[in-house]
């Protein structure tokens, strides 16, 4: 029983990471820096809350969340690809912008500075957090299935091949007629949608939006991408690993064995270790962050 609870808890925590990390893999593989995952997630969470609140339906919430992800994704894409702005600065700007916008509209819509009213999620009001709640939440299934699907997309489809080419050697891709900017726009917008879905899940699972509710999950997802060496399946495994560590810490809370702060450090420490090449080289896509081509 304990094992089951552990697994359920891990999955519950991992889903937002899985969504955002999938988005991160797609965008970064295409050569665009994904510091924006945090902002995408938060905007997805907020838009989903708005949608669910005004319609009473979780699915409408999902659609609104996706719309939010598309808008933010396009903003990132236009700034980075058309304007060739420094992608790191754009990432930070968008994250700050989303925090400000969500707070502002939180005020405007709900007259609160910290949270929205309760909204409908999946599995009804009394679902709790048991097996049924998890199993009946379609986003959970999508999130889990996303890992192999992204792997399939990146390594089996023509689009995936082109994305990988564009992120490594855009000039070579261009020379054979691959429309580099278009591929990047697609990848970044897709990353916006996927990361936003991570936020949608969060908000609908907690049945409300709270200020800055993503709390750095977007960065953990980015850590998973890097630790997973920009491979969708590896990144997915990293997400599960990070989530498991969090679950372990929560379950051990009563024992006070490991302080929560240290567990929260794990993804970040591992990423630094990976970047320093201490567990094999973690080499990013060669054209990452350079939009000159």
């Amino acid at each position: 029983m304990i094992v089951l609870t552990f697994l359920l808890q891990t999955v519950r925590i991992a889903i937002p990471y899985l969504f955002a990390a999938s988005g991160g893999v797609v965008a970064e593989r295409a050569g665009v820096v994904s510091l924006t995952l945090e902002g995408f997630m938060l905007s997805g969470a907020f838009c989903a809350t708005l949608g669910s609140h005004y319609s009473g339906s979780a699915w409408v919430g999902v659609l609104c969340g996706v719309a939010g992800g598309v808008v933010m994704g396009l903003l990132h894409a236009i700034a980075s690809i058309r304007f060739k702005a420094d992608q790191i600065v754009v990432g930070i700007a968008i994250n700050l912008l989303v925090v400000g916008l969500t707070r502002f509209f939180l005020h405007l819509a709900f007259d609160s500075s910290s949270n929205s009213p309760r909204v409908a999620g999946f599995g009804g009001e009394n679902a709790g957090s048991g097996v049924m709640a998890l199993v009946s939440n379609p986003l959970v299934w999508v999130g889990l299935v996303l890992v192999p699907v992204m792997g399939w997309l990146m390594y089996r489809t023509p689009l995936g091949l082109r994305i990988r080419a564009v992120g490594e050697h855009p000039v070579a891709a261009e020379s054979v007629g691959v429309p580099v900017p278009r591929v990047r726009y697609l990848a970044v917008t897709l990353s916006g949608v996927l990361a936003a879905l991570g936020g949608v899940y969060l908000a609908l699972d907690q049945h409300q939006f709270t200020d800055q509710m993503t709390a750095g999950r977007g960065y953990v997802a980015l850590a998973a991408v890097i630790f997973g060496r920009w491979d969708p399946v590896r990144a997915g495994i990293a997400c599960l690993f990070f989530a498991a560590a969090e679950t372990l810490q929560i379950q051990l809370q009563s024992l006070q064995a490991i302080p929560s702060q240290f567990v929260s450090m794990i993804p970040y420490l591992l990423t630094i270790v990976a970047l320093a090449g201490l567990v094999g080289r973690s080499v990013p896509p060669a054209a990452l962050g350079r939009a000159e081509d």
């Binding site: 420094d86 700050l96 912008l97 450090m265 630094i272 970047l275 090449g277 000159e292």
Partner: protein, 369 residues
Amino acid sequence: MSTAVDVTPPPAAPDAPSPARRSRARTRLEEAFLPPIVAILAAVVVGDLLILSFGQSPGAVYRLLLEGTWGNAYGFGQVLYKTTALTCTGLAVALALRAGLFNIGAEGQLAAGGFMAAALGLLLPAGTPWVLAVPLCVIAAMVGGGAVGAVPGALKAKFGAHEVIVTIMLNFITLALLNWIVAARLHVPETLHTPELHAGKIARLGGPFTGSAANWTILLALLAAAGVWWYLFRTRRGYELRAVGLQPDAAEYAGVRVGGVWWRAMAVSGALAGLGGVNFVLGYKGYYEDGFAGGAGFLGIAVALVGRNDPVGVVLAALFFATLSQGGLAINAVVPKQMVEVLQGVVILAVALAVPEVRRLLRVQPRRV
């Protein structure tokens, strides 16, 4: 075999343009000032939209904002207080950028600096004269920030690890660590802060600014700005640092050890951010509080960008963002202060977009700074 005409093989860029029609100085001024101006204009436009969506008049709101900041002594004192930390983090990011490095970790470095100052302040005996205690605590702050900053620098020099990701990760690690230390050992019950320091506190400015948080740390911040300016533009190491940021190949040719410049720049950058921590810990509250940084580290990036990585520009930009931040409080009754946060994001985004666009329009060669 020889050629009579030296024709550069394409698609390499042609040789440097012959003295241009528009004066060189004018181009430089335009390149430096246009992006921030564009950014501020963009902020005003978006601000107008947000204000209107709340059913208020932009003119009235802006007037209220100015009255609440530059219009009264308390408000201006608060502006000065906020300018201090932003100047420090802005200098930190600007210096690193001059070396071609992106320091996103100012938040953690600032917190670490504040913590080290508090730690020393708690260790020193209560009667320590301020001439001794304050400098010691300030140095402790800079050492703390510098140590945190040196790590990404060293990792980049040794392993080529990209400093953007490392600094972001280290931010979380540093803040988590500090949170644990305070929560586990040092906090006053029912709070998230340490007990008051025994020594090393910095006096408030008082005078016309009595009642505000403005304190003498601002003098330190301005001195730091002057110091950074002198370091960058008057010393040999600054010459080499800027060279690394502009054209690492030429710096290498000039005998500069690029890796050494990297980690030293990051260490100094961290130290500057750490200095910012003193503003709250020594100058305002007299204790270390978890989360006191309040985003100053990230805003420092905006300050550096709008300030075009120049110490003077950084001070001005810090003043601007501090005004905006304090102004948010002043207008909160009318329009939520969160509007200011939106505007901050808009300004950063606008500068980010404007810089390459202005360069493209002026046909200036691209560079990192």
